[in-house]
Symmetry: C2
Subunit: 183 residues, 2 copies
C-alpha cells in the first residue's frame, strides 16, 4: 500500500534524536527514557531511533558522552578564570552554577554516572567525567590538592542538590576550604 512520502533525508536526524534524549533526561529523568518516548520528543517515528542507534543502551551511552563533552567545554572556559589563590571561590561559583541554573543537567550526569557502578562502558565514562574537573584543578594546584578538591567538590555538589534553598557561593567556598580548627 502506498504510504505518505518519506520526509527528505535529514542529515541531522541522529544528532536531533540525541538532543531529544538529553532533553528528556533533564525533564523527566533516566526512568522516562524509551525508544518511543525519545522518538516522540524528537518528532520522528520509532523506527528512526532504532535505525540510528543499535539499542536504548547505545543511545544512553552516546548521551552520556555528549554531556561529558559539554561539561569539558564549560570547564575549559572556567579553568581560564582560576588562579591558585582564588581556586576555592572559583570552584564554589562553579558548584553553585551546577546546582542552580545547571541543576537539571547535573542531576542527569549523576544518574548516568551511577550506571557506571553496574556497567563497564558507563564506568569508563564515569571515570572520564571525574577526571575532567581533576585535570582543570591540577593546572593550578599540586596533584594532591587537585584530587582533594575534586573529591570534596563532588561530595559537596551531591549533598547540595538535596538542599532547599541551595547554598550560596560563600557557603560553598567555606565548605571547600579546610576547616580552621586543626584536624
Amino acid at each position: 500500500m502506498a504510504r505518505t512520502k518519506n520526509t527528505p533525508n535529514d542529515p541531522d536526524r541522529r544528532a536531533r534524536i540525541l538532543a531529544a534524549t538529553v532533553g528528556l533526561l533533564q525533564d523527566e529523568g533516566l526512568s522516562a527514557i524509551s525508544a518511543r518516548a525519545v522518538a516522540t520528543r524528537a518528532g520522528v517515528p520509532v523506527g528512526s531511533v532504532s535505525y540510528h542507534f543499535d539499542s536504548v543502551r547505545a543511545l544512553l551511552l552516546e548521551a552520556a558522552r555528549s554531556i561529558i563533552e559539554l561539561r569539558e567545554a564549560s570547564l575549559t572556559s572556567w579553568g581560564q578564570t582560576v588562579t591558585a589563590p582564588t581556586i576555592h571561590e572559583r570552584l564554589a561559583e562553579l558548584v553553585h552554577t551546577q546546582i542552580t541554573t545547571g541543576r537539571a543537567i547535573t542531576v542527569v550526569a549523576y544518574e548516568l554516572y551511577l550506571l557506571g557502578l553496574r556497567d563497564g562502558d558507563f564506568r569508563a565514562l564515569g571515570n572520564e567525567a571525574t577526571n575532567v574537573l581533576y585535570r582543570q584543578l591540577a593546572c593550578h594546584v599540586p596533584e594532591a590538592d587537585a584530587h582533594h578538591l575534586a573529591t570534596l567538590a563532588d561530595g559537596l555538589q551531591l549533598h547540595s542538590l538535596f538542599r532547599t534553598p541551595a547554598p550560596g557561593p560563600e557557603e560553598l567556598a567555606a565548605a571547600l576550604r579546610p576547616p580552621a580548627s586543626p584536624g
Copy 2:
C-alpha cells in the same frame, strides 16, 4: 474451582518480601525491581506483594528506610571506636569496608539516594542518610569539621567505587586528611 489450600498465615511475610527486595537490589540493581521479580525472589505469589505494599514505589521507600536503619546501627557501633585523634583512620576504615565487603549495599544506597533528586519522599530519606554519618562525626569533632569530613567521605566513597582495585585504608586516610601544602 477449588484451589490448593493457602499456605498457613505467615506473620513474617511482609518482612521477607522486604528482605527479598533488598537482596534483589544488591544483586541486580534498581532497574531489576518489579512486583513479579520480588515475588519470585521471596517465593510468594505476586498478589502477596501487592497485598502487603500499596505499590512498587512504597516497597522501595520501605527498602530505603531499612537500609538506612542498618547503616545507622552499624555507624553507632563504629562511632564507639572513634576518637578525635584517630578520626581519619577510623573513617578511612569505614569507607574501605563500604567499598569492599559492603560494596553491594553501598551501591544500592546510592541508587536509592539518587531517587531523592526527583521524588520528595526519597529526598527526605536521602537527607536522613547523609545526617547519619554527620551526627556520628559531630560527637567527636567540631560541627564544621564534621560537615567537612562527611562531605569529603561521601565524595571519596563514590569515586572509590569506580576504582579497580579499590584503594586501601592508608590511601583513603591520606585522602581524608587535609593536603600538606597550604591551600
